[in-house]
């Protein structure tokens, strides 16, 4: 009997040597005359266990990990791929607590199969959302999304259904769906994981969105830092076209939806929606004034839905299983599930999908297992480079949009970056300003100039120059940036800076 062995070809798995592991497993099996089929699946998101090798058995898939290059021979010696007792053996994959304690909706399929197999996608419930949508009017689809309570997952948490309603209600000879896959926040990789592990879900979600608002062209604006996602998306789109799921006649409905990936070019600001639209138009990624909203005048001045990868993907679940099903997850006004990405100095890092409402401490300690190097945690940055640094007394905050807003934090795209006790928060605050100076589009002065002045000020403070006075100037500068910037880049950069000053003042007075 052929043994089916799974070796992920996700970016992180490959970055840890998964390609070599696959080769070694093939060679070791060949050497022993064993008949094996190696499936290159997506990752399940447990990056601390990557490369996570699995074997299909009668009692479910069993896992081994992390299987590093050089480990294969010893595994085979112990009986792999048959029953074997080896220190890398993790038992049945779905019973590993890190997985079994999650509530996966959007990432339910991630890592289960070859991400490019349309048959596998369909077998696991894929395209049920589109099938349902094809029986509905555009207004009914928009109503279902409204009813679900889905809010944008890019960071701003705007109600998705309301945005779609605006596009649906706006007349236009051409409308667009623009997927924001410019996942530039450090500490986030959920979009990448989804695109690499379950690309058809995004394609299906965008198709549904097109049907809902009457858009016939979609673009995925993908950052150039994700070469593996680019390959997988392009191949998946081409397969979906061949299967008649994209193109002039989507699934025989007579309705058209075309999809194309456009590559960014290393500009963080293009994750801001209006800057992204300018970039998609082939221009400098300059932030636009709002209004007009992109929903009314977006790409090429046409009505445009701009949504994050996870938002568009979540739509498939809402359509396939109903708005009520989705809404039943979550707390307060934060409905559905949240995808938390545990990153930085963390023992068990990766993607955790849970209903809203769990505390940050639960995530970082129970799922994350503390720091990678075993030192005490000192600071946690949530929500990317524009997110606040949280000190220990704030870690019991529930992970939902409103609870975080109360402590002047933000969940953003769900990135959680853990720092140990060697971190210097004055250095981190300086970096926040430096990053803003590097990545500012330059359109508004508070962001363009303020960030440069911010770096200079923090340098003066840390060198002990008129510390009290300069701290006042820094706070004044932060206020100017928050109040006067055109978009979130300059408007939120003060958040990590202010939180560092507020929660870790000792780091600014080193002498």
């Amino acid at each position: 009997m052929t043994a089916r062995i799974f070796v992920p070809f996700d970016t992180t798995a490959r970055a840890l040597g998964a390609d070599d592991v696959a080769k070694e497993i093939r060679a070791a099996a060949l050497h022993r005359g064993l008949d094996v089929e190696i499936v290159r699946n997506g990752s399940r998101g447990a990056f601390w266990l990557e490369p996570l090798v699995e074997v299909e058995t009668a009692s479910g898939r069993i896992a081994f990990g992390p299987v590093m290059p050089g480990d294969a021979e010893a595994l085979f010696e112990a009986g792999f791929p048959g029953p074997c007792d080896h220190e890398l053996s993790l038992g049945v994959t779905s019973e590993i607590p890190w997985f079994s304690r999650q509530q996966r909706l959007t990432f339910e399929r991630a890592g289960l199969a070859d991400p490019l197999s349309l048959d596998d996608y369909r077998q696991m419930g894929g395209y049920e959302g589109l099938d349902a949508a094809l029986q509905m009017t555009g207004q009914q689809i928009v109503d279902a999304v409204k009813e679900s309570g889905l809010r944008g997952r890019g960071g701003a948490a705007f109600p998705t259904g309301i945005k779609w309603q605006t596009v649906l209600d706006t007349d236009g000879d051409q409308k667009y769906i623009a997927c924001n896959a410019d996942e530039g926040d450090s500490g986030t990789f959920a979009d990448r994981l989804l695109m690499e592990a379950d690309p058809y879900q995004l394609i299906e979600g965008m198709t549904i969105s097109g049907l809902a608002v009457g858009a016939t062209q979609g673009y995925i604006y993908l950052r150039s830092e994700y070469p593996q996602a680019l390959k997988i998306l392009n191949e998946a789109i081409s397969k979906a076209e061949k299967a008649g799921l994209l193109g002039d006649d989507v699934a025989g409905s007579g309705m058209a939806f075309h999809l194309e990936v456009r590559l960014g070019a290393g500009a963080y600001i293009c994750g801001e929606e209006t800057s992204m639209l300018d970039s998609l138009e082939g221009k400098r990624g300059m932030v636009r004034f709002k209004p007009p909203l992109p929903a009314i005048k977006g790409l090429f001045q046409k009505p445009t839905v701009v949504n994050n990868v996870l938002t568009l993907a979540a739509v498939t679940t809402i359509l396939a299983k109903g708005a009520e099903y989705y809404k039943d997850f979550g707390s307060g006004r934060s409905r559905g599930t949240l995808t938390v990405q545990l990153a930085g100095n963390i023992k068990r890092g990766g993607m955790v999908e849970l209903a809203f409402g769990h505390s940050l401490r639960e995530l970082v300690e129970d799922f994350g297992g503390g720091t990678f190097n075993g030192r005490p945690i000192r600071a946690i940055q949530c929500g990317g480079p524009l997110g606040t640094y949280l000190s220990e007394k704030q870690w019991d905050t529930a992970l939902d949009y409103e609870a975080f807003a109360e402590i002047e934090g933000m969940l953003g795209h769900g990135g959680v970056v853990v720092f140990d006790d060697t971190v210097n928060l004055a250095e981190q605050a300086r970096f926040a300003m430096e990053f803003c100076a590097i990545e500012s589009c330059g359109k508004c002065t508070p962001c363009r100039v303020g960030s440069v002045r911010g770096v200079e000020l923090i340098d003066r403070i840390t060198s002990g120059e008129q510390v009290d006075d300069n701290m006042l100037v820094l706070e004044d500068l932060c206020e100017t940036m928050v109040e006067g910037s055109l978009c979130a880049m300059g408007g939120l950069t003060p958040y990590p800076v202010r939180s560092a000053v507020r929660e870790f003042p000792e780091d600014f007075r080193s002498e």
């Binding site: 986030t188 290393g266 400098r284």
Partner: protein
Amino acid sequence: MALSFEEQLNAIINRFRDVPGGLMPLLHAVQDEFGHVPPESVAVMAKALNLSRAEVHGVISFYHDFRTSPRGQITVQLCRAEACQAMGSRQLEVYAKQRLEIDFGETTGDGKYTLEPVYCLGNCACAPSVRIGDDIYARVSADRFDQLLAKQDGSS
């Protein structure tokens, strides 16, 4: 028969001439072909797309990815973002610059390596991250950085 520079450039331009918002994919294609965006291509692209040279130049200079001068044979990108900082990327940055004897944006004397900063490769659970070509590497210590360079030396 080898095509001349103009023929190659025009062949690429023709692929994107009628693509809405085609300048970005065009610039990527030009850079993929020539290793950088040659300054002499700017006027040709501008004319074909009915843009001013200033507009094309403006786009090239806005994005970190686009270069107007040749790079080394191998581009090494070090992630400088927060998740990597939490795992020692600041130290790795110092080490890599010493090891290659260049700063960010520079190319080694033998024309082999160009060192660049990058802000997040989406590999943040297994930091620090380094990108060489289209390959990304996780948990890169100083030792592993040396191994990666040795691998490049062995394969070229």
